[in-house]
């Protein structure tokens, strides 16, 4: 049986999270001779579909197009996935806001369990996933015929995006399910990389003291590194940073090459979101801050002095 990966995209390009998901799918194919199909559901998503045909390892790109997919409403996406689900042994989504929204809806309609946020593929039916904010890892075996899975993107390398030659199959699009309509969105456009796929993340905590100081101190640092900006829950709760910057158990999970934590004490819920980063730097004036226990390089200093100095010396 074949493996289906649900693509995440903006109709023009496929998001990096999908490449991590393809890597997880490729590991499944080590245990069987399954083929890998990618499903692109969008509105005028031809450019994204064309890009996806270049992914090595993907043998076929399924394309369902229509205005009902323009805003990725869960009801419509789930219905389209269900229309092809019976052809597959595994259906994989990236564990992003969108993937987490749709995957359980698909699983319940198939009457199968969903396996959330897998961090390792052990066999065709056995997977490892973190629980309790990553303080424990559980290895679970699915007893269901179809495995519906969300993939922790930071746990798998990105698959290559060029060199492949997949075929395209146009699916007949399912009709609008008529349950929800899109009203509007507020997406911040700041020209910085996406938090979950950035090579460098600079995160600020409550010690920054105000929204203005957060911006004044953190923005030059982010610009110097071409980094994405993150924040601790405390900083978001205090209104210093926007909600979607929150790194942690219930926010974003990141694992960049370099993570710089500025004025973040390091509650276990925050550590859960960043402890798999390759190199962690912590700047904090409290030598007892738990963040130092996971940092490769700790600097006990006043962030208002140390961060500008760091920016100046880069």
């Amino acid at each position: 049986m074949n493996v289906l990966v649900i693509a995440e995209h903006d109709n023009q390009t496929i998001k990096p999270a999908t490449l991590n998901c393809i890597m997880a799918a490729a590991q499944l194919s080590l245990f069987s001779d399954s083929r890998l199909h990618l499903l692109v559901m969008g509105h005028n998503a031809q450019p994204a579909v064309e890009a996806a045909t270049n992914f090595p390892g993907v043998s076929k790109v399924l394309h369902a197009d229509g205005p009902q997919f323009a805003h990725a409403l869960a009801e419509n996406l789930a219905a389209q996935v269900l229309a092809v689900a019976s052809n597959y042994s595994h259906i994989l989504f990236a564990a992003t806001a969108s993937g987490k929204n749709v995957a359980p809806r698909v699983a319940a309609q198939l009457d199968v369990a969903q396996i959330s946020d897998i961090s390792r593929v052990d066999s065709l039916d056995t997977f490892e996933r973190p629980i309790y904010a990553g303080n424990a890892l559980v290895c679970v075996q699915s007893l269901d015929a179809i495995k519906v899975i969300t993939v922790r993107t930071t746990a798998f390398d990105a698959a290559s995006a060029s060199g492949g030659a997949a075929t395209i199959e146009v699916l007949s699009a399912v009709p609008d399910q008529g349950k929800a309509t899109f009203v509007g969105s507020e997406i911040a456009k700041n020209g910085r990389p996406e938090l979950t796929s950035a090579k460098v993340v600079v995160s600020g905590g409550r010690a920054l003291g105000s929204s203005e100081k957060f911006t004044d101190v953190m923005t030059p640092l982010a610009e110097k590194f071409g980094a994405a900006m993150g924040a601790s829950r405390a900083a978001v709760d205090a209104g210093y940073a926007s909600n979607d910057w929150q790194v942690g158990q219930t926010g974003k999970i990141v694992a960049p090459q370099l993570y710089i934590a500025v004025g973040i004490s390091g509650a276990i819920q925050h550590l859960a979101g960043m402890k798999d980063s390759k190199v962690i730097v912590a700047i904090n004036k409290d030598p007892e801050a738990p963040i130092f226990s996971v940092a490769d390089y700790g600097l006990e200093a006043d962030l208002f002095v140390a961060v500008p100095e760091l920016v100046a010396s880069l």
């Binding site: 805003h71 699983a107 303080n135 075996q141 700790g298 760091l310």
Partner: protein
């Protein structure tokens, strides 16, 4: 309209759990248990909708062991009118919970169901979406704002505008009622429970039913093979100043 809210009893979020030495699970004997924080937000939202006159009754539901009654009493102290416990000692997975909630929805006919977006023990984030699928209803997950716009008081026909936290920002969708909503962190700040309200909650009705009584098969679909400790990061070093930090990043870690 009635609002149904699902609440889960979990290990308190301040507790750092330990993996049992035989790798069968985490040790939850004698640790503090609390209501899942996202479910507290869900209850608070339902109670506010009642205080605004939009909801007529708030029903809290929990599925699990007998001690979940304490969690339900907390929900009623926040302001839920009554509670239902689906009592079982079976380890419940999200699909089973969604099926139990669906059975209770059929009985209670709520106009809105609110759940936390994820439980902080298994970190699954599935139950709300699964319930929406089983009930064939719209879903609005990760909600940071709920606005019921056209309820007629009975929940018969109406809409809710729900602002959702998505990657990169926020989006607002309109869902027809009845609908399933899952609460994110910024939906509200739950009130402190007062002693008089705790006393009052003791007198509110708490009904106990069973999965068998609801004709729901709750057998687990995922078998736990092993629970283990994650590998710990090796200890790092403290650097004395910014210059040393830059030097280490450049020449040792080679990340800049």
């Amino acid at each position: 309209m009635k609002i149904l809210v699902a609440v889960k009893r979990v290990v308190d979020y301040n507790v750092k759990v330990r993996v049992k030495s035989d790798n069968t699970g985490v040790d939850i004997a004698n640790v503090k248990m609390s209501m899942n924080p996202f479910d507290e937000i869900a209850i608070e939202e339902a109670v506010r909708l009642k205080e605004e006159g939009i909801a007529s009754e708030v029903i809290a539901v929990s599925c699990g062991v007998a001690q979940c009654q304490e969690t339900l009493r907390t929900a009623m102290a926040i302001g839920a009118d009554r509670a239902i416990l689906v009592q079982t000692d079976v380890e419940l997975q999200p699909l089973a919970v969604a099926k139990l909630l669906k059975a209770l929805m059929d009985k209670e006919q709520p106009g809105l169901v609110i759940l936390g977006k994820q439980a902080i023990d298994d970190d699954c984030a599935q139950t709300g979406q699964m319930l929406a699928a089983l009930a064939d209803l719209p879903q609005a997950t990760f909600a940071s704002k709920i606005e019921v716009v056209a309820g007629d008081g009975t929940g018969a026909r109406g809409n809710a505008n729900v602002t959702r936290e998505i990657d990169g920002g926020l989006e607002t969708i309109s869902v027809t009622l009845p609908a399933i909503v899952t609460a994110d962190l910024r939906l509200n700040e739950p009130r402190y429970v007062t002693l008089p309200n705790i006393m009052k909650a003791k007198k509110k009705p708490l009904e106990i039913v069973t999965p068998e009584g609801l004709a729901v098969d709750v057998a687990p679909r995922l078998k736990i093979i092993k629970v283990s400790e994650p590998t710990r990061r090796g200890a790092g070093i403290m650097v004395p100043d910014v210059a040393t930090l830059v030097d280490k990043l450049r020449n040792e870690a080679k990340v800049i």
